[in-house]
């Protein structure tokens, strides 16, 4: 229905809602980027007072659709209606004024400004003289935080906040717009279990107030815990919408991938060999202390712990990124000193870092450049010159083995999906012929299909005798893949669990003590 501007204004003013069933609808949305059809005739209907989850593999089009609803992208075709009235969204500001707020996956806060300044930017309360009224701003922030039960000082500078707290500030900021629709793009990817619980609490409150919440996630468990409805997308197309109480986990996976994934965690019992890596009393002052463990050939050692427990720091120290203050590392029983990554590589260690964008990908370089970079220290180089032919050959083979989806090896990595970027990075490390493989969040933010492939790959590597250390925030992943689990809490190892005795409860018990 298209109304004349004057009718529309009258409708808005009266608060009458021509189509009361849906708060926000989008129909026939099409969006093309150069060379990619990101969305093809996609629809979306959001009811008031519900949480509507969006599921789909990376590249399925969820984020693109949400960016259209938030006014960041403009659709090539299609109609968007807010409370039954056609709207056009030319900018994020338009979206906010139409009552649509979005919490982005990437954090968009200004680090050198205070929490309050970040939240009220562009809407700062003014004093009589037209200057910013900081006292009033801090008071309003404190009020907002109290309502949401967030214990953060409004006057703190954002750069001093933990990632999890920054995420909470983002959420509070979106809520402060008092909008009708709140879009959350993977809001739990950086926060701890306890904060997730807290967030779900907030979501339920907002729902009760009649807001419509769009919730993008990769985590199946969250879907069933918080969502009322779920829409699934695949390859830029709309697959279907269901009440979340009427579908099972397997149904959704089937809709997402268009094929059956019989086993999520293809753990195999493989013969476990001698101790390869032996760590004793490893300490990094102020971060973690007295970390001791052994990893054997063919073994997968899972590392669990809440965000901030020091898990990733231990990995960084093992690999020489931040050298240890004290403690010892032995490989094959021989003491080694690793205070630079190149030394770790020479000892056949490999380290897939937690943050693909910040410490992994060379985004503007091509697939081949990305894959070869860690191997050039002692392979493929003669007299300083890189043997391009040999590199091309092994990279092509590796890309084939890992089933990396890319037009060719000269494609920039930034044009690949998250799962394929991750595979490129795994390829980078496999080319170094590792005997000890450290994986930090190997499947974070990647789709179900790629996840299963990476799990299978890790199992295969363990079978060939690689010692694997796998850090993960996803408990099912740690429980499903590990032979043994090391649990950390506030910089200390709180315990080890064998595969047989480990379950969610026993791990969380050690992680949260």
């Amino acid at each position: 229905m298209v109304l004349s501007p004057s009718t529309m204004a009258a409708v808005r003013k009266s608060g009458a809602i021509p189509n009361a069933e849906f708060l926000l609808t989008a129909e026939g949305i099409r969006k093309e980027f150069p060379g990619v059809l990101a969305l093809d005739d996609v629809q979306f209907h959001l009811k008031r007072g519900t949480v509507h989850a969006l599921m789909g593999e990376n590249g399925a089009g969820k984020s693109t659709l949400m960016k259209i609803l938030a006014g960041i992208y403009h659709p090539d075709q299609g109609e968007i209606r807010m409370k039954g009235v056609d709207i056009r969204l030319e900018s994020p500001l338009d979206a906010l004024e139409n009552g649509i707020a979005m919490i982005h996956q990437e954090l968009n806060l200004m680090p050198f400004m205070t929490v309050a300044e970040n939240i009220w930017i562009r809407r700062e309360p003014k004093s009589r003289y037209g200057l910013v009224d900081h006292a009033e701003m801090n008071r309003k922030t404190a009020e907002l935080f109290e309502r949401l039960n967030i214990p953060i000082d409004p006057r703190a500078e954002v750069r001093d906040l933990s990632v999890a707290n920054r995420q909470m500030v983002e959420i509070a900021k979106a809520i402060s717009y008092e909008s009708d629709v709140l879009i959350m793009d993977e809001p739990t990817s950086a926060i701890t279990e306890r904060e997730v619980e807290h967030l779900f609490h907030i979501i339920r409150d907002l729902k009760a107030q009649g807001l419509g919440i769009v919730y993008i996630t990769h985590k199946m468990s969250e879907l069933f815990e918080v969502a009322d409805e779920v829409s699934v997308f695949r390859d830029g197309r709309y697959v279907g919408t269901h009440a979340s109480s009427e579908v099972t986990r397997d149904d959704i996976i089937r809709m997402m991938v268009g094929r059956e994934i019989t086993q999520m965690f293809p753990k195999e019992e493989v013969p476990i060999g001698d101790v390869v890596l032996s760590v004793r009393n490893l300490t990094l002052d102020g971060v973690f202390r007295d970390v001791s463990f052994d990893v054997r050939a063919g073994e997968i050692l899972g590392v669990a712990g809440l965000v901030g427990s020091g898990r990733s720091n231990v990995a960084e120290t093992l690999f020489g990124v931040t050298p240890a203050s004290s403690g010892s590392i032995a490989i094959d029983g021989k003491q080694v000193k690793i205070d630079r990554p190149v030394e770790a590589i020479r000892h056949h260690m490999a380290f897939l870092t937690e943050d693909r964008r910040d410490t992994g990908c060379l985004l503007i370089l091509d697939v081949m450049d990305n894959m070869q970079v860690a191997s050039l220290h002692d392979q493929f180089v003669r007299g300083g010159f890189v043997d391009e032919k040999a590199v091309a050959r092994v990279c092509r083979d590796m890309a084939g083995k890992l089933r990396i989806k890319t037009p060719n090896l000269y494609e920039r990595v930034e044009n690949l999906s998250g799962g394929n970027q991750q595979k490129v990075l795994i390829g980078r490390w496999l080319l170094t012929n590792p005997r000890i493989l450290i994986l930090d969040e190997p499947t974070r933010g990647i789709d179900v299909g790629a996840k299963a492939e990476i799990h299978r790959l890790v199992t295969d590597l363990a079978r060939t005798g690689v010692a694997v250390i796998m850090i993960s925030s996803e408990l099912p992943e740690v429980l499903g893949m590990s032979d043994r689990i090391m649990v950390m809490h506030e910089g200390r190892v709180t315990g080890f669990l064998d595969r047989a005795e480990a379950d969610q409860v026993s791990v969380m018990d050690l992680a949260a003590r």
């Binding site: 370089l365 092509r396 083979d397 084939g400 083995k401 790959l457």
Partner: protein, 345 residues
């Protein structure tokens, strides 16, 4: 690790081949170069009834003028690829020109500025000293940036000021003249052009086909990722700035040799010309992107414009104004290119 065990999964390998590299990005800049040259040709015939291109003497002067800039620009290009910047090269030209020239003075000239009782030295000595001084300054730049973590802009700004100071202090502002034939040979005829081309070819190969080059791009693309991949960032940055200093030293030697004299004010503004040439040639100030072929074309564009303005008898003041516009225009193009790439993703 034995990767063979994965073979069975490779049945449906989605990567058919390595693929072809895309068209070189330099092609568009090359077309711009041709376009500008033809424009001057056209305006030349219309306005003053002369040919711009069919004049060997003019072309020779033009290419000689930009050869020195080109040599500096090659060094600056690899600095910019690491997402750094080098503001010191113009001052280093002045400093190394003075140092080299002071050791190349002939003993027939009684009023020698620096070393009155110096015997005639073979040309190798001033050349090596000039290069070594540039290299040393580059090492200082690189060490400051790598070890203290101060921004490259600041470190090289310091060198920009100090090196010019050294150049002036060295002879208390006096020019250094009467240089030996062996030394001035390097500035005679088309020797600077040949040296520029040799430098360009060497660094093209170095950046494209060696580990040094691969690591340079990796650092500029993502320094943290490069570090985790085992690259020694500090050592590499020192090398990159040292090379930039060395090439600025070479430019200083050639400048003095060509002028057959050295003055403390030599090379003023060269650092910006060199950065301009690199950026026109497609080097991204954000790092990770840039090629020597582009820089060479960028240098030629700069040369054609300056030569064209002189040809059309455009006043020197206007030339400077337009040069400023070109610098900003080139950076706007760079930003536009970056944004276009981002939008595509």
């Amino acid at each position: 690790m034995n990767t063979d065990m994965l073979d069975k999964q490779a049945v449906t390998a989605p990567v058919a081949g390595i693929g072809k590299r895309r068209l070189p990005p330099e092609l568009s800049i090359f077309i711009v170069l041709i376009g500008i040259a033809l424009l001057f040709e056209l305006v030349g015939w219309l306005a003053i009834g002369q040919s711009f291109l069919l004049n060997t003497a003019r072309l020779k002067i033009m290419i000689l003028q930009v050869s020195v800039i080109g040599i500096i620009s090659v060094g600056v290009t690899q600095v910019i690829i690491t997402s750094g910047i080098d503001l010191s090269s113009g001052s280093l030209v002045g400093m190394t020109a003075m140092l080299a020239a002071s050791l190349a003075q002939t003993s027939q000239f009684v009023d020698r500025a620096v070393y009155p009782s110096l015997v005639d030295l073979p040309f190798v000595v001033p050349v090596v000293v000039g290069l070594a001084a540039g290299l040393l300054a580059g090492v200082v730049n690189g060490t400051l940036i790598a070890k203290t973590g101060i921004p490259p802009f600041i470190a090289t700004l310091g060198m920009f000021v100090s090196a010019r100071g050294i150049a002036k202090w060295y002879t208390k502002g006096q020019p250094v003249s009467f240089l030996s034939d062996g030394f001035t040979f390097f500035g005679s005829g088309l020797v600077p052009v040949v040296i520029f081309l040799v430098v360009a070819v060497i660094f093209h190969i170095l950046l494209r086909y060696t580990r040094y080059g691969k690591f340079t791009y990796a650092i500029g693309s993502n320094m943290q990722a490069a570090r985790v991949s085992g690259i020694n960032i500090q050592a590499h940055l020192i090398k990159v700035y040292a090379v930039a200093g060395l090439l600025a030293g070479l430019a200083g030697v050639l400048t003095a040799a060509r002028a057959q004299t050295a003055q403390a004010g030599m090379g003023v503004g060269y650092e910006f010309d060199a950065i301009t040439a690199a950026v026109i040639g497609g080097t991204s100030l954000a790092g990770g992107v840039g090629r020597i072929t582009g820089t060479v074309i960028g240098t030629l564009i700069l040369g054609v414009m300056l030569s064209g303005f002189t040809f059309l008898r455009i006043d020197a003041y206007y030339q400077e104004i337009i040069k400023g516009v070109i610098i900003v225009g080139a950076v706007i193009t760079d930003v536009y290119r970056q944004n276009k790439k981002k939008k595509k993703v």
